[in-house]
């Protein structure tokens, strides 16, 4: 190839490479906008809220005096609601996904159900709230309780759990399934001994990401009637005397973190806004640590499984 032709090719390559550069710059800018906005929000919230973060803030009930108000009932409420959410969404979601992947015949009905599950993920959360108000609060008579709230959020994250579980199950190579069947395992044996354990990282990730979303949900919880000012704790689940376990807390009225925040931001006093920022910081931390946990679990369990 002579010098002229070579030069031409190099020009061409350089011209094409300019697009790489342009796109990289645009991409970086977009990323910067997103990251900057997020960082600015967090910093602003931190500046407002951090001075309020003390041990008292976590152990005090809400109060009319902003300096004494705390998030005790809110974080306890959020934790208990999340417990119910997990207890409801994990068994139902995982079973549904296992059924769809391993057992369901591939017919029109299954296809319709599948499409609807994907659609459910896009239903606005307030619609779940309305459904829950009619179903759990009134029809089942659970009232405006932790149980109703947990089941509502459980319903809300069910599609996420189902989709994540199905994806995890599908990523198991058919060679592994065949290996189990080939030594004489039944369908349930294969599911229990292999499919479920190997899809656990994916299931856990889905569950935790769903929960991280649920913990910040406000609309459906307001709809079913969480109290925004609550100065007592639900009955403790563990009791000093026989039978030691109590489920009374399930029926207790409650509040959760985002509702506490919402309540404080709607007050005129600036001091309450600081409380809201501090509670927001705590909520953000809860969400981030849940996501971190999901990543960690995924990493730990994934280490054992390579294919």
């Amino acid at each position: 190839m002579d010098q002229a032709a070579l030069g031409e090719i190099r020009d061409l390559i350089n011209r094409h490479k300019r697009w790489d550069l342009i796109f990289a710059a645009v991409g970086l800018l977009c990323l910067g906008i997103a990251a900057l906005t997020f960082t600015a929000l967090v910093i602003d919230m931190a500046l407002d809220g951090a001075p309020r973060l003390s041990a008292d803030f976590f152990t005090n009930f809400p109060s009319r005096r902003p300096a004494q108000a705390g998030i005790l009932s809110a974080w306890v409420g959020s934790t208990l609601v999340m417990l119910v959410t997990a207890a409801a969404a994990i068994p139902v979601g995982v079973s549904a996904a296992v059924y769809l992947e391993e057992y369901a015949p591939k017919n029109l009905l299954t296809a319709i159900i599948e499409i609807n599950i994907t659609n459910l993920a896009g239903v606005p959360s307030i619609v779940y709230g309305l459904l829950a108000l009619g179903l759990f609060v009134y029809a089942f008579g659970f009232g405006q309780s932790i149980l109703s709230a947990g089941l509502t959020l459980g319903l809300l994250i069910l599609p996420v759990v189902i989709v994540a579980t199905r994806e995890a199950i599908r990523s198991i190579p058919s060679a592994i399934r065949e290996a189990a069947y080939a030594v004489g395992a039944t369908k349930w044996g294969t599911t229990w001994d292999h499919v479920l354990p190997y899809s656990l990282p994916g299931i856990m990730t889905g569950v935790i990401i769903g929960m991280a979303r649920a913990i910040g949900e406000t609309a459906p919880i307001i709809t079913i009637g969480a109290l925004s000012f609550i100065a007592f704790l639900p009955p403790a689940p563990i009791q000093g005397e026989f039978p030691f376990l109590s489920f009374e807390w399930l029926m207790a009225p409650f509040t959760v973190m985002p509702i506490q925040m919402f309540n404080w931001t709607s007050r005129p006093e600036a001091a309450f806004h600081q409380n809201a920022a501090a509670a927001g910081l705590v909520l953000l931390l809860m969400t981030l640590s849940m996501n971190a946990l999901a990543i960690y679990i995924r990493y730990q369990l994934r280490k054992r499984i390579k294919w």
């Binding site: 065949e178 290996a179 189990a180 069947y181 004489g184 054992r304 294919w307």
Partner: protein
């Protein structure tokens, strides 16, 4: 037993372990196996050879009813298992029962993401064996049978994925052996392995014959000649010729077989 009798299909001393009778198999509307008839002799190695896509794996996977796992597959005809005279393709015969009697080793090593020990023990657990001492004993026996014991006895709790490819394949053989099957199926067990690992698997197959009946699919003509007693040549879903391996390789009766063996196929 005279040498002549050994080399002849008519030898009366051969015990038939399984007999395929007029087997047809369909993947949905695709007719993959056509009127297959052939015996499987007890404690002998039978090889299935033939060009890619001729139905070797499909035929092999009829023996442990693997096709039942996927919808739309259909068997016609029989594979009779002796001495009990069970037609293992019959709709009333539970595929799980069949798989408990007939084990399989796959083309690519497919150990479970569990420990070496648990991989071998799984078949025993499926059979409800709970006594640790018996499981221990059978796991060791199977690993010895698969010529892997000495290499792994100090690290039975290690993950199976940490073994080399050849070791993994021998582990899969141990897993298949642990349940003391009557027939062992191999689907190109060495095609994913290097020559040294291949040699060790072939050696193992030579050791195993005499203990149980083996049916092996292979792409490698030399391998078929080395390890098998009987060979079936398949083409487009049919068994073109079945005979004693020496006969197939030295003086096949069918022109098509001869062309394939001598590489004039195509």
């Amino acid at each position: 037993m005279s040498k002549v009798a050994e080399g002849s299909l008519a030898a009366s001393s051969m015990v038939v372990k399984a007999e395929t009778k007029n087997l047809n198999f369909h993947y949905g509307s695709f007719h993959a196996l056509k009127s297959i008839n052939m015996p499987l002799y007890e404690k002998k190695v039978t090889a299935l050879i033939g060009p890619s896509g001729c139905g070797k794996s499909t035929y092999l996977r009829c023996f442990n009813r693997m096709h039942d796992l996927y919808p739309g597959n259909r068997y016609d005809g029989e594979i009779k298992l002796y001495p009990d005279n069970t037609n293992l393709l019959h709709a009333h015969v539970d595929p799980i029962e069949v798989r408990m009697r007939i084990s399989m080793v796959f083309q690519k090593p497919n150990p479970f993401p569990k420990s070496i020990y648990e991989n071998v023990a799984y078949g025993l657990r499926v059979r409800g064996e709970r006594k640790a001492s018996i499981v221990d004993e059978k796991v060791e026996q199977a690993l010895r049978g698969a010529a892997l014991w000495d290499e792994v006895k100090h690290r039975l709790k290690d993950l199976a994925f940490n073994l080399s490819g050849g070791q993994q394949q021998r582990l899969c053989i141990a897993r298949a052996l642990a349940t003391e099957p009557e027939i062992l199926l191999f689907d190109e067990p060495t095609s994913a392995l290097d020559p040294i690992a291949t040699a060790s698997i072939e050696e193992l197959i030579a050791d195993l014959k005499g203990k149980l009946t083996i049916l092996i699919v292979t792409h490698n003509m030399q391998q078929a000649a080395r390890v098998s007693d009987y060979t079936a040549y398949m083409y487009l879903g049919e068994v073109i010729e079945f005979d004693v391996t020496d006969t197939i390789f030295i003086k096949p009766k069918n022109k098509a077989t001869e062309d394939y063996i001598t590489g004039r196929f195509g």
